[in-house]
Structure formats: structure tokens, C-alpha cells
């Protein structure tokens, strides 16, 4: 998986409340801040807590025309093990449509892939990075609500698409800006996470700490290794 590829089509699968759409938004903003191109689109359904949620991000160094769901992703991010183990996904199995030589990042504290999954992913020459993003979020930010930051940080650390400064600007814009229009459910989660911190600045700082930690972890990973699964301890 080459990090300088011109175009990334990402599919992010997770559960309602994990911040899938929020992090997709921040990912798009990062690219935009970096002077690159991005478009993002959430799956259109009746999202609710713990129900499947998907968002799609296209990122590129050239203009993007395509819209809609990413049917043939080259990056898949799984925010919750139940996406794999319970089939909580709009695309079953979760790797449907995955292109060759692709990257899969899974948030899990245990081995989620069965032998069949491994065979398919191995035949596609995919690289699977597994780490417990939720544990990392709790360890550093004191809340599982920062899981999405850990996942996003890992992705950006591995791909080198943008710098940490671009990310910080995007996170700041999302939580401290006033231009973002959130739906009812997202707005209530926003207020829940804001209450966990004395100031919004603290929230921003903790999110950035999580992201920085994942950047450090990502720096030690060799995506060109022959391993199918790279497990990273948190």
C-alpha cells in the first residue's frame, strides 16, 4: 500500500454514537485545510445508538467528482468489533468491494477475523492494522468517545495525508467553531462530551493527545511488510 497514492476511497463502518460521521467530517476538513481535495458522505438511513453507521470519505490531490457510497474502497476502517462479529454493517461481509493492496484498520482488543476472512484479505494482498483504539481513548482522554480520534489519527499517521497542524485546525473547527450543523443525536453527544471537560479547549487538547499517540504508533509500522495482520499493543 503506497502512501503517496493520488486517490483514497475510504469506507468507515462503526456503530451509532462512536463518532463515525464526525470523524469523517474532520478527515474531510483536514484534507481541505491541507489544500487537497475531499468529499464525504454519510450513509443515509435511520441511525441510532449501537446500530450500524457508515460514512464514506474520498481524499485526493486532484479534484473529486464521484459522490455516493464508496462501493470499491481501498481503505476500510472498522470502529467496533461488532461490525465484524455481529455483521453490523451495510456491506456484508465488511470487506465487500475491497480493492487489491488495500488497508484495513480495525479497532479491537481481540482477534476478530476468522480463517475465511483472512484468506480473502490475504488474496487481496491487504494489510490489516489492529489496535484497541477504545482502550487508548480511555487511557489518554479518559473517555471512549475519543475512539474516533484514535482511529482517525492512526489512518492519517499511516497514510501521511496531512500534518498534525492540519488535523488540529480541523478538530478545533469541528468542536470550537460555529459553522457545523449537527443533527439532533449528534448535538446531544456533542454536549455529553463537552460536559466531560471543564473547557472546550481541554477537549481539544485531549483529542490531540490521542491523535499524537496514534501518530507515534503509526510511525513504527511498516506497511510494506509481508504480514497480513499487524497487531499494535496499546
Amino acid at each position: 500500500m503506497a502512501a503517496d497514492k493520488k486517490r483514497y476511497n475510504m469506507r468507515i463502518s462503526g456503530l451509532g454514537g462512536q463518532g463515525v460521521v464526525t470523524s469523517a467530517h474532520i478527515l474531510g476538513s483536514c484534507m481541505d485545510n491541507a489544500g487537497k481535495f475531499a468529499s464525504l458522505v454519510p450513509f443515509f438511513g435511520s441511525e441510532k445508538r449501537m446500530a450500524p453507521v457508515e460514512a464514506y470519505v474520498r481524499a485526493s490531490s486532484e479534484p473529486i467528482y464521484e459522490v455516493g457510497e464508496v462501493v470499491y474502497p481501498d481503505i476500510i476502517m472498522i470502529y467496533h468489533s461488532q461490525v465484524v462479529t455481529h455483521g453490523k454493517s451495510y456491506t456484508m461481509p465488511f470487506y465487500t468491494g475491497l480493492k487489491k493492496n488495500s488497508l484495513v484498520i480495525i479497532n479491537t482488543g481481540f482477534e476478530v477475523l476468522n480463517e475465511d476472512d483472512k484468506k480473502v484479505l490475504s488474496d487481496l494482498n491487504a494489510t490489516v492494522v489492529q489496535f484497541d483504539a477504545t482502550a487508548l481513548a480511555i487511557k489518554i482522554a479518559g473517555t471512549e468517545l475519543a475512539t474516533n480520534m484514535a482511529m482517525m489519527g492512526m489512518l492519517l499517521g499511516l497514510t501521511g495525508l496531512v500534518t498534525e497542524a492540519h488535523i488540529e485546525a480541523a478538530v478545533r473547527e469541528r468542536f470550537l467553531g460555529n459553522s457545523f450543523v449537527a443533527s439532533g443525536g449528534t448535538a446531544s453527544l456533542d454536549s455529553a462530551i463537552e460536559k466531560k471537560f471543564k473547557k472546550k479547549e481541554d477537549l481539544l487538547a485531549k483529542n490531540m493527545e490521542v491523535i499524537n499517540a496514534t501518530f507515534e504508533m503509526a510511525a513504527k509500522i511498516d506497511l510494506n511488510s509481508d504480514e497480513l495482520i499487524i497487531n499494535i499493543a496499546v
Binding site: F44, I64, Y65, V71, S179, V181
Partner: protein
Amino acid sequence: MSIKNMTKEKNWSGQKLVSTDYMLFEAPREKHFMTGSEVTKEAIKRCTVDASVSYPITPQSEAAHLIGELWAEGYVGMYFRGENEFGVMSEVAGCAMAGARTVTTTSGPGTLRAMENFPMWSGTRIPVQLILMARGINSPLTIQPDNLEVTFMLETGCMIWYAENVQELFDMTIAGFTVAEMPDVHVPIVTVVDGFFVSHTRESVMLPPDDIALMPYDPYKAPLPPIDSEMPPGRFLRDPFVMKSNYISYATHASWQWEVRSAVDRSIPYARHYLNGLAHVTGDLDAEIVFVACGTASHQAKEANRELTKLGIKSKVVKLRTIRPFPHAELLEATKSAKHIFVPEFNIVGWLEKEVTQSLYGKSEAKIIGRPRVAGGMSMPVEAILHEVLEHVNEEKGA
């Protein structure tokens, strides 16, 4: 805030009044990262809008909500929620007949519920703007993007423009009021985008500052005077022809229907100016493979064009920006080189393919292929377009 606060220089919310040319072409722009719903708010904010009536239906609910915020912030003069879409479209007609610059939004089943009102709008020559965020209309119920509803709108006598992305939605909304309100046009404008694919997709967009706004609408330049205590809605209703059964009544109806359609055609020079052309062409100009599309289908076609270029196959994309008036001249010119015309669509009936076929009948030798066609909210992956094209190209070369 009141209309009484309006001066020659500023509108009631204190925004400096500017021409549409300044707003669209001259004002400095800054980059933002927004959804189609959010950009709808930004466009309406800059249009000195007198009235808006709303009713929630996915995927346009957010846009309707945000126009309501503009009312709360003092930018929109009047805002209320109708009892259903039929009520909404009737109420916006009332606002417009009384001389208000009026906007509303709807989607799919809402559009069909309100249907009787659209030919009434054009018949009473009101320049209402409807921002239509297309959604499936079939049963089982769906909220997904599918633009079948547009086929029902084609013969209502309204102008229909189709925006490809968030940027075009912004620019078209502003141009829409201006062209619709031209005294020699003065018909409703339906600005269509594909629901979700534009309404909920976040992308970068260039916006002029928000302390400027369009000049107010002048209803006294309208072909039918605004209603007051002396003037009934659509002046001819004072003595309704529907009550009569004689040749004059038939002739009046017939000539008025022609007049409404002529008014739509008279929008062409204005639309060419404010939209920078009724059709946009990208790709290899001499290509034999031509995609004709509107809305996000042209997005997908542009990606296909990029992929075909990598394979050494020439193609071009003709994006139709207005559907009513239909850009016959532009389409004919842009498809001169064509041997294969592909019309990718997000609906099952292929209404655009029918329009293209009818327009080119007897004028083009090209084979018109109404594929790929997806429906029910499906995505149209570039791979599907490439598959259609390669299948046709290889078929003709033989096994």
C-alpha cells in the same frame, strides 16, 4: 426587523444591496467546507428573501430548518410551517402572488403530494423558487436518492435547473431568483439537486461575503400585478374562464399555456449569462464516446472520463444544467462528434435519455444508450459506467 427598514443601499437585515452580476461574478470569494443543506442557507441568506414556508421531509428537512434559522436571525422576512406539502406549495403561491420573493424546499413524496400546485404556479406566473432535493417516490417507502420525481415536474411549465454539486447549488439558487423574476420570463424556478449526494455531502465551496445581498424583488414589474384588496390572484380569475364553455375560453387557455412555455424559453439568454452556459462540456472535444448527464450523474461520468483517458480511450461529458428550457442547441453542438451517447441516470425510467433522444431525433446518427441506470438510492460506481462503455466499444469491434 421590518421591510420598512429597507433603504436603497441596504436591506432590512443591514446587508448591502448588490447586483446579481456582482454577487456571482465579481465579489471576492472564500473557501468553506459545507453540505448542500448548509450552502442552501448561505445562498438564501444573500438573496433578500421575503418569505419561506416549510414542511419536513428527508432529505430536505435540514435545508428547510436552516432557512428557518435565517428567519430567526432576521434575514428572511416571514417563515412558517405548512400543514403538508400541498399546503406549503399553496401558501408560497399566496406569498408570491402578494409580491414576496419566496422560496421553499421539498423532496420526493412531498413533491408528488403538492403536484397540482406546480402548473398553478407557472399559470399564475409567480417567480417562486423551489429547491428540490430529489428522493425516491416508489413503494416500499424509501428516503434514498433517486430522481424519478423530476419526470413528473417536466411539463408543469416551471423552469427546471439541475445543480451538480454544492457549489452549483449555491450559485444556481442566486441566479434562479434573478432569471425567474425577469419581467419577460416570470415563471417559477425549480432548482434540483440529488438528495443526499448533494444535500448531505460535504465538500469545499467558494462563497462571497455574507454582508451583501441581492436587490429586493419588485413585484410591480411582474406580468400579473400583485394581489391587494382590488386585485384578485392571477387577475384573470376575477372572471374565471373555467366557468365558461365557449371558444374564447378555450383559446385563452391554449394561448396562455403557450405563453407560459414561451416565457420559459425566453429565460435562455439570461440563463446562459448567469449560469455561464446551459451545458458544460469537459473531456476530449472530438471524442466519439459522449456522456450526456445532469446532476451527480455527470459527476460520475467525469470520473469515468478520467479512467477512460488512462486506458487511452477518448470521451467527453456534456453536463446539462437546464432541463426546462431544454438546451437543444447546446446538446446538438456538443454531440456532433458522437458515435455513442451514454446517458447515465439515477432513476428507472430514463427520463433524461428520452429527452436526449427526442431532442436529437433526425439530427444525429449517434447511438443513444440509456445506461448505466441505477435506482432506489443505489450508488453509480465509475466501474459500472466503464463496464457499459467497454462492453459497447468491444461489441462493435467484434469478438
